[in-house]
Symmetry: C2
Subunit: 720 residues, 2 copies
């Protein structure tokens, strides 16, 4: 063992000893590597189609668009273009917003109405028989998005001839939720600590703030909530607002608005009031003035994200008011300035142990149509809490008169932290494609989110950030793909996750097909792998207490019933699973009839959701003919095998990847494989106590006892 | 204001928008930039003197030495040398330990006895009329140190012809103390959070661990205490020792030993014993077995650093035993394996409010000669606590039969965190040069520390680390110089701080004299500046409560008298200062007679230490003819002016420094200037209440009221 470790380290040393000057950087540069184009034909095509750059805008955003284009082309083609203010000759790239374009060019571009204010058009045109490539939009931000989109073509080695691309984001608010505390710890953060260095702000602007804005702009993210939903009211005091203002000044030219979390009891804590009752005149006034104060500093402040009456957070119910009272009161405060209130639907009562999955729907659906126009209700993708797999949240489609925004979790609270490689866009896509049937077949969650289903004006997608101050931003090099993929899906919820994986790999590593093909496959199967080795067949929330790292199906001693894994798997001698069908809690009734019927019936319920909706006997026959017990055990084994397969794929990529990132991923996959076995052994040993059955052939014998697994403690697990 | 800010940000944006690919890296590379040699003559000299590299060693350390040399020469000279195993032709660089050298080469090198095991010899020799440059030592680590020393010659553009350099460290233990907690917060850490990612260890080896080891090896640091002196016993459990072992495997080839802090009550907390009494057989046995367990994993484990019976930490006194009992018990446990115990002398009683400055001496000096051979007592540079200026600690020289090691604080707990530019080697040098007179004139602190005074076998210097996971390691680019300077002084306590500044600047930024001269001057005056604007004329410990950031001379409400600034400055209508002379606490009696006399007498007491030793009337005439009040006020003003002068110097360096580091330092100096004024105004307004005198001419009027300064709160100040 020790010997193995020694040689293992030796090999690392030989690789890493002096490579910091290049590699550390690669990790940091995310998907904006702008690798040299080494395909000569392609390079020739690119150079022959780019003679000059003509940048017409004058704003900071326009300057960013030009410098981005200039430096990217310099890195990819080894040619540094100057900024020509007037067009001479042909094959220029002309970048500028609609009104900056000469009339004859505008005419060639055609109809700008097909895009919204953030959209762009990339079009090869011919003016006086001279070919030109125009990147334009209605606004400078649109142009910037267009530039990043154009550069992505080159990063992925696509042709740039005869382009005619029209694209625009399908949602208004594409936003990161940072669960960052003022002490720089990050709730559920696994990539170091908060980027926001409050002590040195406002006067010290860390380069990372700019790099962060740049990375987000490159994928179309246009908002960021700087602070934790479990909010501290101090962020709303002048001492901190001055710092927030400084960040907003950095982000603004990149098209990113700053938002804050509002602690509902702030009027008491920092306002000196006796109450935070949303109907109290002083409280209403306090919030109005607070909004004025903020908008005086930050004219384009986005608004507030609120977690109220959830998990002990204060809220309107403390004053016998309801969510509508609370949200609308805040909405009135920010409305004069164009601000929005993102009100979270993640609530579950301390007094109702019946079925936590039903409570958000039960509490919110009756409010449909009662919220002000600038309120949007933020709903997690599933009814419980960011599990490896959950059926789509029944609220989607159930509140036709209320804007609902999606809340995805990019950070992997329940999916192995930043240690496990899990490509989340596959999960996101599964949710967005789910058919709610709320207006008949084909009314997918995506159509609810982008507003097309109910003609909703205010739309959005939020992602709980996985970003920290680790050198590589996200802890795991492949977790960068989850940040990237979230941004791309927020821009277009109909994108295919495989396309996203392909884009990201090419931009981040290499365009070599021998690398792309297998590694893309590895990414695409990674999400099913984690479901299999953690929570197969619809199991959920059986992670260990608090930190949620590793298995804890045996946990049953927590004060609130719905905090205990046993509440969710309900394993007993008869079987396993949570009966949410008619015979159980009837949570299925919260879905549209077609979906309700499908989930309700053991025969039609997809096996991937089986134990989510049904308590099933150990001997129940699965579609593959296996008993439930054997099928469950084989699923756990399959998850372990899938991770082994991922390792085999990655171990063959050495010649396509820099030493450091290759080693990093290799080490992390090794840990993931070890921990997949841990999950398999701990869960099967525990459930076996109830099934009283042998492990089927093909499932490896556990190497440790159940007591050993129960004894494992992680006192300083991050993000907890 | 807002407008100014806007344009300020604009300028930043234009600079930084796309430069991450190069600049972030420069910050990260510390003093190992290996900039291209652009002086052609020099480059020619270097190339003509380096034809080949012949590396004779086979160990990991030898491989590191070669690859370091190879990559550095590649970066500096643009030529990639191969590793020749045999010497052909002339002008080779031959690197290898003594026994790896051919006899005729050994003969040419001469006497190896002039160096110790970590020393090196760099010598230009001639073998069969062929010139060769040999870098050798008794061990491979010595050779590695030699390689770094040789590369430093080139980094600082020195000639490499006819070299004959013999160098060896003057202390055994050159060690960093990381006050890192297991949750990755760092006590008194201002550069982000702990480098040690305990969750991903042992199987994930962060590149930073290797880069950290490399940076330390390049300046001769050979030990690191991974954990906080306010220790958590969990670090001694197998779960964590496995992780510590992984780190030790990374650090070993760089000549760095791992040490841990031992919580004295660990036998109770993790051993299940009822007591931690150092005379208890079970306790003695528990520590013996714990040592065995550790050394089984880490054969070269360095030993334990212990903070006992200090600031609430457990220790032998809890069992009516003394420091000797505690230290020797642990010493016995690690002695069989060659381990050492570093026992801290930083103690002050909760029950003796008389004079905290006297207590460590009073408690420890009686134990002189009573500690086991493998115990070394770690003494802070001054008798209070890492102030901007303190007289040298009276314990130095007062325990001739006991090894004493120095504890410097590299992290700037009381010196403006990582926001203020303060070149600490100037402070360190001042302490090391102080004459204790314990064996007559010239018995400096340095001679105590390097063991030459009392022929001490075990010697060492510890530095409380300023390293965190910030991209630039230390928060402030110039704080890197304090890490560097600490290492250089630990190697040779007689080095001049100006030489260190010169080396560091050349290695880190540029060799251009137009840059070096003024910036070196800026560094050299920076320490006196902070003394002036924070605690001039011997004032001390008047920082605000807990976080120690900013002024708090008014604080008087803390539970223990010696925690309150008023305890230290004792300002009243008669004057200001702590009377530690015969007429006061008689702390001066703890020094040798010559020093005692000097400090005791108001006339001979250096004015820089005046208020440390004397309570002086506001009208007292200073040597410059000013009254104490006017002189004090003018000192505060001088500090502010000195920071302004530092800004003027830095603002002229733009053309010698990369954009990012230039801007970083510029922004930080701006904050430092603002905060120097804050210190001046707050302290003078406060003291003015007692002096009842006007501010003299030349001192700017305060812009805020004393109440305003008192009202400032820093709820989430880092490191607290």
């Amino acid at each position: 063992m020790t010997y193995i470790k020694k040689t293992f380290f030796k090999s690392i040393l030989l690789f890493f000893v002096v490579c910091w000057s290049s590699s550390a950087q690669k990790d940091y540069k995310l998907w904006l590597q702008y690798n040299k184009v080494d395909n000569d034909n392609l390079k020739t095509e690119y150079l022959s189609n780019i003679k000059e750059i003509v940048s017409l805008g004058k704003s900071e955003t326009s300057q960013i668009a030009f410098t981005e284009l200039q430096s990217a082309l310099d890195e990819m083609l080894g040619k540094k273009f100057e900024n020509k203010s007037i067009t001479t000759g042909d094959h220029n790239i002309i970048i500028g917003s609609k009104e900056s374009l000469a009339p004859e060019i505008q005419k060639e571009i055609g109809n700008f109405d097909q895009i919204n204010d953030e959209g762009f058009i990339i079009k090869s045109i011919s003016i006086k028989n001279k070919k030109q490539l125009v990147i334009t939009g209605k606004t400078d931000i649109g142009v910037l998005y267009g530039v990043y989109s154009f550069l992505r073509l080159m990063q992925t080695n696509k042709s740039i001839q005869n382009l005619n691309i029209t694209d625009a984001p399908k949602t208004n608010i594409r936003i990161l939720n940072h669960w960052d505390n003022l002490d720089r710890t990050v709730e559920r953060g696994y990539a170091g600590f908060s980027l926001w260095n409050w002590q040195k702000l406002p006067d010290f602007i860390d380069q990372r703030y700019i790099d962060y804005a740049r990375a987000n702009a490159s994928i179309g993210i246009n908002g960021t909530v700087l602070t934790n939903v479990n909010a501290n009211a101090l962020i709303l005091t002048p001492q901190y607002l001055e710092k927030v203002e400084a960040l907003s000044n950095v982000f603004r030219p990149y098209g990113i608005k700053v938002y804050l979390t509002a602690r509902f009891s702030a009027p008491i804590e920092i306002g000196g009031l006796k109450t935070a009752d949303p109907k109290d005149a002083q409280v209403i006034n306090w919030w109005k003035n607070k909004a004025k104060e903020i908008y005086k500093r930050i004219p384009d402040f986005g608004g507030f994200l609120v977690k109220a009456n959830s998990e002990g957070q204060p809220g309107p119910q403390n004053y016998n008011r309801d969510h509508v009272d609370g949200a609308n009161m805040l909405a009135d405060a920010v409305a004069p300035f164009g601000g929005v209130i993102m009100w979270r639907a993640f609530v579950y009562s301390e007094h109702d142990a019946n079925d936590r999955a039903k409570q958000a729907y039960a509490e919110f659906v009756p409010y449909d149509g009662k919220f002000k126009d600038n309120v949007i209700v933020q709903v997690k993708n599933g009814a419980i809490d960011f599990q490896p797999r959950e059926p789509f949240h029944p609220m989607f489609g159930a509140m036709p008169k209320t804007p609902l925004m999606m809340e995805f979790q990019i950070t992997q609270e329940y999916l192995g932290f930043s240690t496990h490689l899990v490509f989340l866009p596959k999960l996101f896509q599964e949710v967005l494609e789910s058919d709610t049937y709320q207006k008949g077949k084909g009314t997918t969650v995506a159509k609810v989110i982008d507003g097309s289903l109910n003609k909703t004006k205010l739309t959005g997608i939020a992602g709980v950030s996985n970003i920290g101050n680790d050198l590589n931003w996200t802890g795991h090099p492949f977790a960068q793909a989850n940040w990237y993929g979230f941004g791309r899906l927020a821009w277009n919820p109909y994108l295919d996750s495989e396309t996203i994986a392909d884009e990201w790999l090419r931009c981040t590593f290499s365009n070599d097909e021998n690398f792309i093909k297998p590694v893309k496959q590895m990414m695409m199967q990674s999400r099913e792998a984690v479901v299999n080795y953690m929570t197969p067949l619809g199991l959920h929330h059986i992670m260990d207490t608090g930190h949620h790292y590793g298995p804890g199906p045996w946990v049953s001693n927590l004060s609130r019933p719905e905090w205990n894994p046993v509440y969710y798997h309900k394993a007993d001698k008869n079987g396993i699973g949570f009966d949410r069908s008619k015979t159980g809690t009837n949570a299925t009734a919260q879905y549209a009839p077609e979906v309700e019927k499908m989930f309700d019936n053991l025969e039609t319920c997809p096996e991937k959701d089986l134990l989510w909706f049904h308590h099933v006997s150990w001997d129940y026959k699965l579609k593959n003919g296996q008993t439930l017990w054997n099928g469950l055990a084989l699923k756990y084994q399959e998850g372990v095998n899938q991770v082994a397969a991922m390792q085999n794929i990655w171990n063959k990529t050495q010649k396509y990847v820099d030493e450091e990132r290759f080693k990093e991923v290799q080490m992390l996959l090794e840990i993931q494989h070890k921990e997949a076995k841990w999950w398999r052994d701990a869960c099967l040993l525990y459930f076996q106590q109830y099934s009283k059955k042998e492990l089927p052939l093909g499932v490896e014998k556990p190497t440790q006892s159940l007591d050993y697994f129960k004894s494992l403690k992680f006192p300083f697990a991050p993000g907890n």
